[in-house]
């Protein structure tokens, strides 16, 4: 409860400062729309030549793509400060302050930043998802919608856990922006059907950096072409296991070895 109140205050303050940097916000939104539409144009062009991608139709690929942007955006909206953890907080020593306050340091770190740029991803994702839903003539039952929400939340948690793990490496190395960047780039694979990739890439996306569970695995369930059995449940379990490992074994271990910086 208290944490919720603190979060609300941070959010309110953040939105206030946002108003001060309005143009920055607008440019951020715009850039996301540009990136997203270029991706879409790319997809459309490919499917004009190849109507069928390894057993997946254009509409289905759109569905997976749109779906993937929703958990991605949700995570991006709330945990963007993990990028700054990776890039500068440890190196500059400003990370100290999170360890000096009587609240959970990870909560403090995350609450401090809210990234409305992410609305760009979510709006695009939802629109494409809705469009594909319409093209595919899908009609979900109540339970399916519920499963969808669970899948989106699990997907976000997977994103957050992976970012936390990669960002926490900075607690050892002072800076882990490049590691985080490379790993985050892998998530681009998650927007497409996993079956189009080689076994090696598939194994990585399923086991090492489980981005496959962010969109493709649950989307395949909703498209009635389940890639693995019990995809949604497995995805949720993967999300919790990832979170558990990242939080307890990487982040918390990192806090123990954190060396701060000299003055």
């Amino acid at each position: 409860m208290r944490y919720l109140r603190i979060y609300k205050i941070f959010l309110k303050q953040y939105l206030k400062t946002l108003m001060e940097y309005r143009s920055d916000f607008l440019i951020g939104m715009l850039s996301f729309f540009i990136v997203q539409s270029s991706n879409l144009i790319f997809l459309t062009l490919i499917f004009k030549r190849i109507p069928n991608l390894n057993g997946w139709t254009f509409e289905e690929v759109l569905f997976i793509y749109g779906f993937s942007q929703i958990p991605r955006g949700l995570d991006h909206l709330f945990t963007d400060n993990l990028w700054l953890l990776a890039n500068e907080y440890v190196r500059s020593g400003s990370f100290d302050k999170y360890l000096l306050r009587p609240i959970n340091p990870l909560f403090h770190l995350i609450a401090e930043r809210f990234q409305p740029d992410a609305f760009g991803e979510m709006i695009v994702g939802l629109s494409i998802f809705g469009y594909a839903y319409h093209l595919l003539n899908l009609s979900f039952t109540g339970i399916q919608w519920l499963l969808l929400i669970i899948a989106v939340l699990s997907g976000s948690l997977i994103y957050t856990s992976i970012k936390l793990a990669a960002g926490s490496i900075a607690l050892w190395t002072k800076r882990s922006q490049h590691v985080l960047f490379i790993i985050y780039q892998l998530s681009d694979f998650a927007s497409y059907p996993l079956t189009i990739f080689s076994t090696f890439v598939r194994m990585i996306l399923l086991i090492v950096v489980p981005f496959a569970f962010v969109a493709f695995v649950p989307a395949s369930v909703f498209l009635d072409k389940p890639y693995i059995p019990l995809g949604i449940l497995t995805g949720a379990i993967v999300a919790f296991v990832m979170w558990f490992i990242s939080y307890n074994f990487i982040w918390k271990r990192g806090l123990q070895v954190y060396e701060s910086t000299g003055n």
Binding site: I9, L100, V257
Partner: protein, 338 residues
């Protein structure tokens, strides 16, 4: 209130050769070296004390403070603060301490100061009426009213430091850690900060641990001094006893007509005969002699010099903390300890 027992903090650093070649080589082979930033230190601090914690840059001051505040985990040894182990109970410990690191702010850069205080109120869970009373007190004490509505990024260093101190004390902590709180400030702001620290200590019995390079901070505030050098505490005691520990030194300054090299030599030889560690230097026509008054009497020096030449003016000064600090920072006070 604070117990530090045999605490050591090791840092591992990787040595690289210089230049581009070295950097490339460093990617593959790194020489590992372990540095003891703090080496087996022990002390105890009682409620209401103001500790002046001094030492050269890199001596281990900040590392000690960061371990006491729970930011760093000691490599070995034990720290308890009000019965808690700081790095294991960070959150509980944080409720009872205030921290100001002079070199970097803990305020939110883009927020007006007032809003920062309301966030801190929530983070520290300060009840409404206690908050109001405390804020009034701090705003008055540190003279903050004039800029309380400004975003932190627009504040001058002096304003920001006062704001940082107020922010650190908003939740009425029993212990205040100050790491170089007066660095880079003008005399008036320094005065204000010192006054505030004194007031907090007198009115609320706040225990203060203060590191600084400004010896007037120590002179005015500290009830006890700790000196750390190369990770080892080499002095822990009162301001008054410090001379006993570091030699009862005095400095004699003489302005002399026609100061010649031969005279300088003669004085030097004469002083060294009695006090091997005495230092004779000169600047234009001024001769400066630092000596231990237990070994060498002022009268002897004066008598000798006056028999050789005409002394226009002279000054005699007791060694103060400033001098000790100077010698300390120049290195090698260790060997001088008697």
């Amino acid at each position: 209130m604070i117990q530090v027992k045999n605490v050591t903090k090791d840092f591992t650093i990787y040595k690289k050769d210089s230049g581009f070649k070295g950097a490339v080589k460093g990617l593959f082979v790194r020489k590992k070296e372990i540095i003891k930033a703090v080496n087996d230190i022990s002390f105890e601090i009682k409620k209401g004390e103001i500790i002046g914690y001094i030492g050269a840059n890199g001596a281990g001051k900040s590392t000690t403070i960061k371990m006491m505040t729970g930011v760093l985990t000691p490599s070995s040894g034990e720290i308890t603060v009000s019965g808690l182990i700081p790095h294991e109970n960070r959150i509980e410990n944080a409720k009872h301490i205030g921290v100001v690191f002079g070199q970097r702010t803990q305020l939110w850069w883009d927020l007006p100061l007032e809003e920062t205080f309301t966030i801190l109120k929530e983070i520290y869970n300060v009840p409404d009426d206690a908050y109001k009373e405390r804020l009034d007190y701090l705003v008055n004490l540190l003279d903050i009213q004039a800029f309380i509505k400004q975003p932190v990024r627009t504040l001058s260093l002096g304003q920001r430091m006062r704001a940082d101190l107020a922010a650190a004390m908003l939740h009425s902590p029993d212990i205040l850690y100050l790491d170089e709180p007066t660095i880079g400030l003008d005399v008036l702001v320094k005065e204000k900060i010192r006054f505030a620290i004194k007031d907090l200590n007198e009115k609320y019995k706040v225990t203060v641990i203060l590191t600084t390079h400004d010896m007037s901070d120590i002179q005015e505030l500290a009830t006890r001094i700790m000196i750390i050098e190369k990770g080892v505490i080499i002095y822990d005691g009162s301001k008054e006893d410090i001379n006993k520990r570091f030699g009862n030194n005095r400095m004699l300054e003489l302005k002399i007509e026609n100061l010649s090299e031969t005279l300088l030599q003669e004085v030097s030889v004469m002083c060294h005969k009695k006090d091997k560690k005495s230092i004779v230097i000169h600047e234009d026509v001024v001769l400066r002699i630092t000596f231990n008054q237990d070994r060498l009497a002022v009268a002897d020096i004066l008598g000798f010099v006056m028999s050789q030449c005409k002394v226009l003016d002279f000054k005699l000064r007791d060694q103060d903390i400033e001098d000790i600090a100077k010698r300390l920072y120049a290195g090698g006070i260790h060997e001088e300890v008697v």
